[in-house]
C-alpha cells in the first residue's frame, strides 16, 4: 500500500513539474512585454529589467520561477496593478468553494434518493423517470441549464435573484445549475450498482435466511453499493471546477472561475497561467485521492499496479 501511494505521489509531482515548466516557457514565448512603452529610456528599462530579474539568463529565471511557485508565489497580475495572483485566487476561492460544495451535497442527496428509488422500483414508471432525468442531466450542459434557470426561476417566476453574490439566496441558482450533473451521475451510478448487488447470491441468501426487506436493503445492498461511489468523486470534483468557470460567469458570482474567464478576455497572462497552475493542482490532487481510495477499496488494482 505504501509503495502504491508513493508511486502515485511521484507521478503527481512529475505532472505538476511538467505543467509548471510549460507555463513558464509559455510566458516567455508570449508576444509583447509590459515594458514595451517607447517613452521609457533605455536606462529606466534596464532598471525595470533588473528589478524584475528579466536581465538574467532564462535558466536562472526558470529556477527562480520554480522556487517561487513551490512557495505559492504566482507573480503579480498584469491587468489589476500590483495585485498578487495568489491573493486574487485566495479571495475568490471561498465563494467558489461555497457554491461547489453546496452543489455536491445537494446533488449527492437527491441523486442517492433518485437512484435508490429507481433501483427498488426497477422497470416501473419511477425507474423510467429516473433514467430520463439522468440522461438529460448528463446531456444538458451547465452553460445551457444556467440561462434556462435564470429565465424560468429567476425572471418568470421571480423566486431567486439571478445574479451577483450578496446572500444565501443568490447562491441557490448557481449551485442548482452545477448540481444537476451531480444528481444524474450519482443516480445513474447508484441505480446500476444496486441492481447488480441485488442480483448477487449473498442478497438472495440474506433474503432466504428471513431478513426483512428493509434490513436486506440497508445492511446488505446499500452498504455494498455505496462503497464504489468514491470512484465518481474525482470526476465530479473536476466537473465542479470546470463548471464553475461558466456558471460563475453566467450568474456574475465573484469566484475563481469568473476571475479566470475575465482574465482570458483581458489577456491577463500571469493571472491565466497562475490560475491554470492552481486548477492543475486541484485536478491532480483529486485524481490522487481517488487513486488511493481505489487502492484501499479494491486491492486488485493496487496489486496489478505494483506488479507493472
Amino acid at each position: 500500500m505504501i509503495r502504491y501511494v508513493a508511486r502515485r505521489v511521484a507521478y503527481m509531482l512529475i505532472a505538476l513539474f511538467v505543467i509548471a515548466s510549460i507555463t513558464f516557457f509559455i510566458s516567455k514565448l508570449l508576444p509583447g512585454s509590459p515594458f514595451a512603452n517607447p517613452k521609457l529610456t533605455p536606462q529606466i528599462r534596464q532598471q525595470l529589467f533588473e528589478k524584475y530579474g528579466l536581465d538574467e539568463p532564462v535558466t536562472v529565471q526558470y529556477v527562480k520561477y520554480m522556487l517561487n511557485v513551490a512557495q505559492g508565489d504566482l507573480g503579480n497580475s498584469f491587468y489589476f496593478e500590483n495585485r498578487p495572483v495568489t491573493q486574487m485566487i485566495l479571495e475568490g476561492l471561498p465563494v467558489s468553494m461555497f457554491i461547489g460544495v453546496q452543489a455536491v451535497i445537494f446533488g449527492l442527496v437527491v441523486g442517492l434518493v433518485l437512484g435508490i428509488v429507481a433501483a427498488l422500483r426497477h422497470n416501473t414508471l419511477w425507474d423510467t423517470a429516473a433514467v430520463v432525468i439522468a440522461v438529460l442531466g448528463v446531456s444538458v450542459p451547465s452553460f445551457i441549464l444556467g440561462p434556462i434557470l435564470q429565465y424560468w426561476l429567476g425572471v418568470k417566476l421571480g423566486l431567486f435573484p439571478i445574479a451577483f453574490f450578496e446572500s444565501w439566496w443568490h447562491s441557490v441558482l448557481p449551485s442548482l445549475a452545477l448540481a444537476v450533473f451531480v444528481i444524474s451521475t450519482v443516480a445513474r451510478f447508484i441505480r446500476s450498482e444496486m441492481l447488480e448487488v441485488m442480483g448477487q447470491d449473498y442478497t438472495t441468501l440474506a433474503r432466504a435466511k428471513g431478513l426483512s426487506g428493509l434490513a436486506v436493503i440497508v445492511r446488505h445492498v446499500l452498504r455494498n453499493s455505496l462503497i464504489p461511489l468514491v470512484t465518481v468523486l474525482a470526476p465530479l470534483t473536476i466537473y465542479i471546477i470546470t463548471g464553475s468557470l461558466v456558471v460563475e460567469q453566467i450568474f456574475a458570482v465573484p469566484g475563481i472561475g469568473e476571475q479566470f474567464v475575465t482574465s482570458i478576455f483581458v489577456s491577463d497572462y500571469s493571472m491565466i497561467l497562475g490560475t491554470t497552475l492552481f486548477f492543475s493542482v486541484l485536478f491532480i490532487l483529486a485524481l490522487l485521492i481517488q487513486d488511493i481510495l481505489y487502492g484501499i477499496i479494491d486491492p486488485r488494482i493496487r496489486v496489478s499496479g505494483a506488479k507493472e
Partner: protein
C-alpha cells in the same frame, strides 16, 4: 442387477428416422457476435432513434441545412437585426442581422467535426498505441505507459487553455489540444485487452500456425477487442463535443465571425431576456446531439457487452 432375457427381433435394429432427433435440438440458427449485438440494439428503441437523429443532424449540418437558406452565415444587414422567427428566417436573426438558421448549422458542423476528429484520434492513435504497448509488453510497454500516466496527469482543460494562449484560438488549436490527450483512455483499454487476449489459446494456435505478429494483432486480437473499442468511442465523441462547446462558451474556442454552438449559446445567454429565441435553437440542437450520442452509447454498451447490461 439381474438381467432379464428379452426376445430379439429384427425390427429392433432398424435405423431410426433422423428427423426424429431433429426434434430434440434446442439450439436456434447459428448467430455471429455482431448479428447478436445488432439484434439486441434493434430492441433498444431509444438507441435506434438516436442513431437516426444523428444521421439526420449530419445531413442537416453538412448538406441540407445550408442549402435551404439563401443567406451566408457571415452576411450582416443591420436593418433586419433581431427579426424574430419568420417564414424567411426560420431561426430569426442575431444583432447583426445574420441568419441564425445558417449559423446554427455551421455551429453544428464544428461540433460534428470535433466529434469525428476525436473518433479518428481514438482509432488511429489510441488503438494503435494501446495495441503496440500491450502486445509488445516488456520495456516498450513500461515506457509507453509512463508517457500515458504523465499525459493523464495534465487535464484537458489546462492543455486547451495553454494551447489557446500560444497559438491563435480556433478550430485547429482545439484539434491540437484534443490530439495531445484525447486518445489516452482508449489506449489503456486496448492495452488491457491485448494483455488479456495474447495469452489465450487461439492466439497461441495462430502463432504456432506461423502467423506474423502483425497478422496476429490485425486478424485476431483487434477484432476480438472491437466491442470495448466501439463502446469507448461512443463516450469519447460526446465528451469531445462538450469540450469544444465549453471552450467556445468561455471565449477560448471558435472566434468571431465563425460560429460554434458554444459561442452562439454564450452570445445568446446575454440577450436572453429580450430575445430568448436566439438561445433556444442552438441549445436545442446541442442538447439533441448530446442526448443522442449518450443514448446510442448506452445502447451499444448493452448490445456489445451483455454482461455490463444494467
Amino acid at each position: 442387477m439381474e438381467t432379464r432375457h428379452r426376445e430379439l427381433t429384427p425390427d429392433l435394429f432398424e435405423p431410426t428416422d433422423v428427423r426424429a432427433q431433429e426434434g430434440e435440438r434446442i439450439a436456434g440458427p447459428p448467430t455471429s457476435f455482431w448479428k447478436d449485438a445488432w439484434r439486441r440494439l434493434k430492441r433498444n428503441r431509444g438507441a435506434l432513434i438516436s442513431l437516426g437523429v444523428i444521421f439526420l443532424l449530419f445531413a442537416m449540418a453538412f448538406a441540407i441545412g445550408p442549402l435551404l437558406s439563401p443567406y451566408s452565415s457571415y452576411g450582416q444587414d443591420l436593418t433586419r437585426a433581431y427579426s424574430g422567427v419568420s417564414s424567411e428566417f426560420w431561426f430569426g436573426t442575431d444583432k447583426f442581422g445574420r441568419d441564425m438558421w445558417t449559423r446554427v448549422w455551421s455551429g453544428a458542423r464544428v461540433s460534428l467535426y470535433i466529434g469525428l476528429l476525436a473518433a479518428c484520434l481514438d482509432i488511429f492513435v489510441g488503438v494503435v498505441y494501446g495495441a503496440v504497448s500491450g502486445f509488445l509488453g516488456g520495456t516498450v510497454d513500461d515506457v509507453m505507459q509512463r508517457v500515458i500516466e504523465i499525459l493523464n496527469g495534465i487535464p484537458y482543460l489546462v492543455i486547451a487553455i495553454l494551447a489557446m494562449i500560444v497559438f491563435q484560438p480556433g478550430i485547429l488549436t482545439i484539434s491540437i489540444a484534443l490530439g495531445i490527450t484525447g486518445w489516452t483512455f482508449m489506449a489503456r483499454i486496448v492495452r488491457g485487452r491485448m494483455l488479456q487476449l495474447k495469452e489465450q489459446d487461439f492466439a497461441l494456435a495462430s502463432r504456432s500456425l506461423g502467423a506474423s505478429r502483425f497478422r496476429l494483432v490485425w486478424k485476431h486480437l483487434l477484432p476480438n477487442s472491437l466491442g470495448p473499442i466501439i463502446v469507448n468511442l461512443m463516450f469519447t465523441i460526446p465528451a469531445a463535443i462538450f469540450g469544444e462547446a465549453f471552450l467556445s462558451f468561455i471565449g477560448l474556442g471558435i472566434q468571431v465571425p465563425d460560429a460554434s454552438l458554444g459561442s452562439l449559446i454564450s452570445d445568446a445567454a446575454r440577450e436572453m431576456r429580450f430575445h430568448p429565441y436566439l438561445l433556444w435553437f442552438p441549445a436545442a440542437v446541442f442538447c439533441l446531439l448530446m442526448i443522442c450520442f449518450n443514448l446510442l452509447g448506452d445502447g451499444l454498451r448493452d448490445a456489445l457487452d451483455p454482461k455490463m447490461r444494467k
